[in-house]
Amino acid sequence: MNRRDFLRRSSAAGLLPIVMNGYGVRAYANSPLLEAVAAAGCEDRVLVLVQLQGGNDGLNTVIPLDQYGAYQSVRGNIAIAEAQALKLTEAVGLHPQMAAVQTMFKNGQIRLVQSVGYPVPNYSHFRSTDIWLSGSDSEEVISTGWLGRFLEHEYPGFPDGYPNATMPDPLAIQIGSVISMGLEGHAANMGMAFTDPTSYYNINNGNTAPGVGARAGQELTFIRKVGQQIERFATPVKNAASRATNKSGKYPAAKTNPLADQLKIVAQLIAGGLKTRVYVVSLSGFDTHSYQVSGGAGSPVPHGTLLNQVSVAIDAFQDDLRLLGVQDRVMGMTFSEFGRRIRSNGSGGTDHGAAAPIFLFGTNVVSGVLGANPTIDTAVGPEDNLPMQFDFRSVYATLLKDWFCVPPDTVRELLYRDFPLLALIKGGSPTSVSDAVLDATTSLSVVPNPIHDIGRVQFICAPGPIRLSLFDATGREVAVMAEGSGNGSGDVLLRASTLPAGIYHVRLQDARSVRMTQVAVVR
């Protein structure tokens, strides 16, 4: 039984108890799951992943204005001037090159999630990318991708028997020449790569290298022609591309913004009627070890230019989706394999770091900023990192459940365990709690602070599952102080006598959100 059948069968049985238990159906009317059950309507939802390759510098993307002095002090050579930061809130500023995203934010089309990462940072591009794409723990190697597993679950047996009436189109499309590891299933990769839907990808373009004989050229042409015949999905993609024309005037000129060029194709394909569920686009150049502001050796394109490309591309894409009448079906998300160090280096750049903000965009996001600004201590060393506030798999779990309407049990199967859901998607779960409500109902503190050997962590939070843990200054989770089901408050001993002196972060996660506080251990 595939999931579609499951939904059909459970819809009749599923609605009844909901009503009988006394819940007004209206209260659930916005629940994506219920919508799926009622109308099987989630199949037309699309996720667009925007991969920022190289490790995007989160602290220069989203500037903690409430700690501007500390920020300025640790990043003197690359700091964004306070007056130039584009305000999202009083405390949160955007890089000045991201005006378009600021406008989208004001229009309620942006969900900014602070400090997304994983508990044990890995500073390798390759490895950290694999962690993000596979959804694995840092120490665990998984060869399938999180979206590959999702698509494999939705379309069992792929690619055997596809395309078919249920899914006549590629399950996922990567714009570029290589299919993302994130789309890797157990048996096959679920994705298909296109540079340009009207032609095969670069590698299979005609070979016109000097020294290639005419006879070899003839045979290559013949083989490619047969190859195009067997590319079962090429025709639907080409057809879709020919059915729709981009409408937004906001796209920059072709070949001036690689991300915009890619998203333009995605908009065209969605509007052209492809049933493809996932698109992956990417922009590289974020490995800004040096000359991050000015551009130069190491970072040929300045960080600001890259962020401008991201901002302009996303805005034009969103505008296009609106004009093409498909905006409500599409959710976008940016991510990068890691953020960068808190303290900038001597070359006017930043080295590989840990947690960083991500942006979700679309008409269905819960707009606003999720999570608090990271704490910046002027005493941080060159190796120190931002600890994660939200596990990236919480974002995945939420997208799977609230956007793709995957049942919770299946989400657990796809991600190997439960991750707390976040308020990211309208009508999704958990019920969004405003910062004001959160501030009024939760607290987290350490006394004394700084501590010498023993301190106490005192907290008030939502009753239910909690995880109270300690991160060191490099962003690594070094101890779990409490985990399990809580009654809404706690008072836990923090034994610091064996910890090296330094800055630590206490992180409290409850069913609704995350709180963090900084503590210093001194000797």
């Binding site: 991969q51 390759q53 190289g54 890995n122 390798s124 591009h125 390759f126 490895r127 990318t129 694999d130 840092s138 120490e139 190697v141 060869s143 570029g176 020449s177 290589v178 993302s180 590891m181 048996a187 096959a188 990808y201 670069n202 590698i203 299979n204 373009n205 070979n207 016109t208 290298a209 000097p210 020294g211 290639v212 004989g213 005419a214 006879r215 070899a216 003839q218 045979e219 290559l220 013949f222 083989i223 490619r224 047969v226 190859g227 015949q229 067997i230 990417s282 922009l283 590289s284 150049g285 490995d287």
Partner: protein, 524 residues
């Protein structure tokens, strides 16, 4: 005569020579070729090798214990199918283990030229015997080959020589001997006249060949005097109105056979037909008038002048300027053995196959079946003409590639590179070792160099700069190339650390999968 090649003798040329004379092209083969001059390399490729050992029973079969030879034991209908698969595995093994020699490729050539099908031969011992004969004579003398094949037990069964008697002549072999095996059929210029021979010549040849049949007990051939037509056989003007006097007894019949083969071989069209077929197998399927005049004709003359010895002709062809011209590089489409055996040979086959002999057989059987799904099955020719890729105008080699076989070809390389090649149910899917492949290059820490060197190893022709860039993109997905260097060096420093090894391995596999799926990999 044929102009010998006088240009540089370098890796690209050596690889071209190897690709056309062996299955695939390994670095070791190229090194061997470059250890001496072009002529020395060709002499080495053409050198005689000792006969391989007879096939063994990979598993207990009938009364034969595992590991024991069985070709001298008696026929057993119950295990014949199994024995056929032993012969097939044996040949797969010989191809995989081939030394620096053209022998296995020429054995395949002759086995296609003198094609038979086990469906009609029905005795694996016969099939083994024919294969052994073809291998032994593969670089020998065309006349010896034609004589041996004519009296071979498999051929007597396959083309009904064993039922060809004076009382009831069977023209089957007499026809194919001329139409396919030797002189070749030309246009029908008059009713029953095929330019090179006539229907009456078919009948006359059939009469010469009466009386021979196979002896299953000993896998030999016997002559039955009473079944032989002792009358004189008269041939057409195409054979100079030759009369073969009827012979008495086995010696008389042998003399007739000798005269028949000699008569056919004396015709210029025969040498041209054979040289043309060989040219289409190792050089190019397009035979222009110019090629006919400057290559085929002189080589055909040479074949006759050299009393039908194959080596001098092959040597002249492989050493020619024509063979090494840019126009000849990469103009062939790999046949399934080139693709399958060649790909496996490229990547340390010993690591792919189980070491146990009985398991190895099942694995070889899978390899053989993989080739069969791509339309090349050993000892199972589609018909007496062999594979259409070597006779069917105008597509020739392109007939190896269609929507079905191309998918299978790409699936095979995909499986080997990344998805897992299931050699046997009892075995984990096999995959090539991407680190071995990476270390075939001079500096695996330089991803661009790695791709460029892989390209010269995998492809007969260079790639464009845009293709190389796209492959770098495949490997790195946009991060700088220095990141690769860093990651590779980290892997080298701690090769056992899975969290370091796996991302590098995944990228290597993706790269291999992508490159081996390129159209450039289907040509040689």
């Amino acid at each position: 005569m044929i102009t010998p090649y006088s240009g540089p003798w370098d890796r690209a040329r050596a690889a071209h020579l190897v690709r056309r004379t062996m299955f695939g092209c390994t670095i070791r083969d190229v090194d061997t070729a470059l250890a001496g001059t072009l002529e020395q390399a060709i002499d080495k490729l053409l050198a005689d090798l000792p006969a391989p050992e007879d096939p063994v029973a990979y598993t207990k079969s009938g009364g034969v214990a595992a590991g024991q030879p069985w070709v001298a034991s008696s026929y057993d209908s119950g295990t014949d199918g199994q024995r056929l698969s032993f012969v097939q595995s044996w040949w797969i093994d010989l191809m995989l283990q081939q030394q620096f020699s053209i022998r296995e490729k020429m054995t395949l050539f002759w086995s296609n030229h003198f094609s038979t099908s086990h469906l009609q031969v029905k005795d694996a011992r016969y099939t083994h015997k024919l294969c052994t004969t073809l291998r032994e004579l593969s670089l020998g003398n065309v006349k010896d080959l034609a004589m041996a094949v004519t009296l071979d037990p498999s051929m007597l069964r396959y083309l009904n020589g064993n039922t060809n008697t004076k009382a009831a002549p069977n023209e089957n072999f007499g026809r194919e001997l001329q139409e396919l095996f030797t002189i070749g059929k030309g246009p029908e210029i008059a009713p029953g006249d095929y330019t090179t021979y006539t229907e009456d010549d078919v009948k006359a040849a059939a009469h010469v060949l009466t009386g021979w049949s196979d002896v299953q007990a000993s896998i030999t051939t016997k002559f039955t005097s009473g079944a032989h037509d002792t009358s004189d056989k008269v041939f057409s003007s195409h054979y100079g109105n030759k009369v073969i006097r009827g012979g008495i007894g086995e010696s008389g019949a042998r003399r007739e056979l000798d005269e028949l083969i000699s008569m056919i071989l004396e015709q210029p069209a025969t040498a041209k037909h054979l040289v043309r077929k060989l040219y289409r197998y190792v050089v190019d399927y397009v035979v222009t008038e110019d090629v006919e005049r400057t290559i085929i004709a002189p080589l055909a003359t040479m074949l006759r002048d050299q009393q039908w010895e194959i080596k001098p002709v092959l040597k002249a062809l492989l050493m020619s300027d024509h063979f090494f011209a840019t126009e000849r590089i990469g103009c062939m489409i790999k046949h399934p053995a080139d693709l399958v055996i060649g790909t496996i040979r490229l990547f340390q086959p010993e690591d792919l196959f189980p070491p146990e002999q009985n398991l190895m057989h099942w694995a070889y059987r899978t390899v053989r079946r993989t080739m069969a799904t791509m339309q090349l099955d050993l000892f199972n020719a589609p018909n007496v003409a062999g594979w259409p890729a070597y006779y069917q105008e105008p597509q020739y080699h392109e007939l190896w590639i269609n929507a079905d076989t191309l998918q299978k070809r790409v699936k095979f390389t995909n499986d080997l590179a990344k998805d897992g090649y299931l050699l046997d149910e009892a075995y984990e899917p096999s995959m090539l070792d991407p680190f071995y492949a990476a270390r075939l290059t001079s500096d695996p820490s330089n991803v661009r160099a790695l791709i460029q060197e892989w390209a010269t190893l995998f492809f007969p022709i260079p790639l464009t700069a845009a293709q190389i860039d796209a492959l770098v993109e495949v490997a790195l997905g946009g991060v700088p190339e220095t990141v690769w260097t860093y990651e590779w060096n980290k892997y080298e420093a701690s090769p056992a650390d899975e969290t370091v090894k796996t991302p590098v391995e995944t990228k290597l596999r993706t790269l291999l999968k992508t490159m081996l799926a390129m159209a450039e990999y289907q040509i040689c």
